[in-house]
Amino acid sequence: MPPLEIPREKWIGRVNEVTLGGNGRREIKIGGESTLPFLHFDGSIPNRPVVAIEVQDREPLDWPPHLVSAWGEALRHPQTWAKKAVEFGADIIVLRLRSAHPEEGDTGASEARESVDRVLSAVDLPIIVLGPEVTEKDNEVLVAAAEVARGQRIGLGNCVEKNYRTIAASCMANGHIAIASTPIEINIAKQLNILLCDIGLKPDTIIMDPTTGALGYGIEYTCSVMERLRLAALGGESMTAMPMLSDVGNEVWRQKEARFTEGVPPSWGDHLERSIIWEEMTATTLLGAGADIVVLRHPRSVEIVKGTIEKLMVRV
């Protein structure tokens, strides 16, 4: 019998390699792959996908009890929280400036500066700073964050269609990376990348966040959009070749399955087990669709998802 020839993909494109950190801060490289997720036989994956842990600038009051107890006192201050996140194995710290949201404290540039500074001094991991997703507030706090972290190549998001000029300018002036976020749609994602590059941002200083749907809450849309973006990138379409970030914890922990400890059907099973696997399975599924960074909340998810990435990085 003739030997069985496995069909290989001859991709012509490659995902951009983006460096976060530097200038005294630990560096990490994201992206760079020339094949679909974990398919080592078609191309190379120079950098394994990474796990970021989310830290908020104020103690979160709406987290379910066991997520709170997994962190304990550390949640009180972003700097202690970030340090603990390092112990729990974070590759990157994502600092969410949630208190800047008009309904959650409406804090401004000076508070943002302080929180970012504290986290920067507490840990030497690469940092991504996310605003409250209200455009004017994002502009205010992200510009402040960019200045404090000047030269340390942090990620800044959300950079969206409405405020991309401000964020891009701030990234260029201070040497940072834009986290370009768009509502689950391939052309809008591509369009924002084009806009960012047109005003001068280098393609390898952009990470895209095509919007995450949690398991049971639109994950199939996210999967398909990520797969299509990645297929386009490998097919040589440079404006979709940015590495991708998935804000998993943020989406998962607002859903009933993760939040509710009682008043749910018995078929949902044990709350602790269910909520953690909800985060883990959302993360591993999106890693399989092309995520290069997943942002998580529960320390156990971090451990398990990192372990799964390790296993998938083995060439077989």
Binding site: L4, L39, F41, G216, H271, E273
Partner: protein, 451 residues
Amino acid sequence: MALTGIEIYKNYLPKTNCRECGFPTCLAFAIKLAQREVDPSLCPYLSEEARQALEAQARPPIRLITIGSERPIEVGGEVVMFRHEKTFYHQPGIMVRIRDTEPPETVLGIIDQVANYSVERVGLELGLDGFAIENTSGDSTTFIRCIELARSKTDMPLVIMSNNPTAMNKALEVASQGRPLIYAATRDNLDDMVGLSLNYHCPLAVYGPGGLEGLSELVERATGAGVEDIVLDPGARGFAESLTTLTQLRRLALKRNLLGYPIITFPGEGSETIEEEALLAGQQVARYAGIIVLDHFSPALVYPLLTLRLNIYTDPQRPIQMTPGLYTIGSPRQDSPLCVTTNFSLTYFSIAGELESSGFPSWLLVCDTEGLSVLTSWAAGKFDAEKIVKMLKEFSVSSSISHRSLIIPGHVAVLRGELEEELPDWRIMVGPREAVDIGGYLKRNWRGDLS
């Protein structure tokens, strides 16, 4: 290998555009054939050679296999690598393994739990699909007893697992009417297992670890002897092995027309904890398994797995939809809150569930957004001020309520200004982004007297 519409048109159709197939031109028909949406027999003028070629083309590159008889499942029949290219058609069967070394009470306990497990999502009841009964004891009497016990409790499909043809023969004597999957033909027992598969008309799993060439050789021997319904076990157990091998098998089937059969996996054998088993099973739902045999049953792990399967196997062109209209949640009065949303069923069910538990009977206006969610439909221009105004009119919302307050989803807060212009006597309220926050939002913001 899959033919394109043009290839079909050029090489196989009469090019007379006689319209008897129901299509205006041969080319139009060819394109439908390429998409496997029509039967080639609709054209009465095909040559014998064309008929054969087109029938082969019409068959999915991965054979559709039926397992079970009372409540059969169909697996395989897939035609794409990625769901956006068309859709994934037949969701993998998820089964639970029972070892015949377990005491009968335990076996009955597991069967009871699994068979009765059911969880509701977006108005659908999700559940597991059957059992794999393994001759772990090596003793055929124990094996038969276990199978009979299972058959007495459930008519769900079975996989019968033994490498011993004698034990398998005895098992099939009692269980073959249920059309179980025979697991498995191996290098050592292939001829005997093939014989059993043919005798009892049951599908046959072929186990060929250590490379697809070995597997392919075994499969060829089985098909050569006349077995048609085959399930593959390439023996790839861990995360990386499974992803690589199952991807390669899907490609071989789609691009080379080789080894086009559904695949059975055992995630419990490739993982160290049950949590990991569930994650690996999740990977296999997304990447190409036809039957997944779990070693553990735990509702907290099975619920996310069934949810993932539902999500991944939802047709991207046909999301599960609600009929547009004005829905009542509880028994709303004229002064009860009015919310507006899209007709994506998940959105609807999330909001309806939250409104129900909020203590506010409500009106829910469901707009036709072709089944897209709030954000996606907004991005696609299918959920905008104009659409909302149109739906308000179409379903005469004003006549059902006494107030003029409309709560829009937080994700489309941008629509507020435009709505205020289009609906000058209305108050437009921006609700929360997530359904789960609706109860709290109404408590804080809904005052009947203000509206």
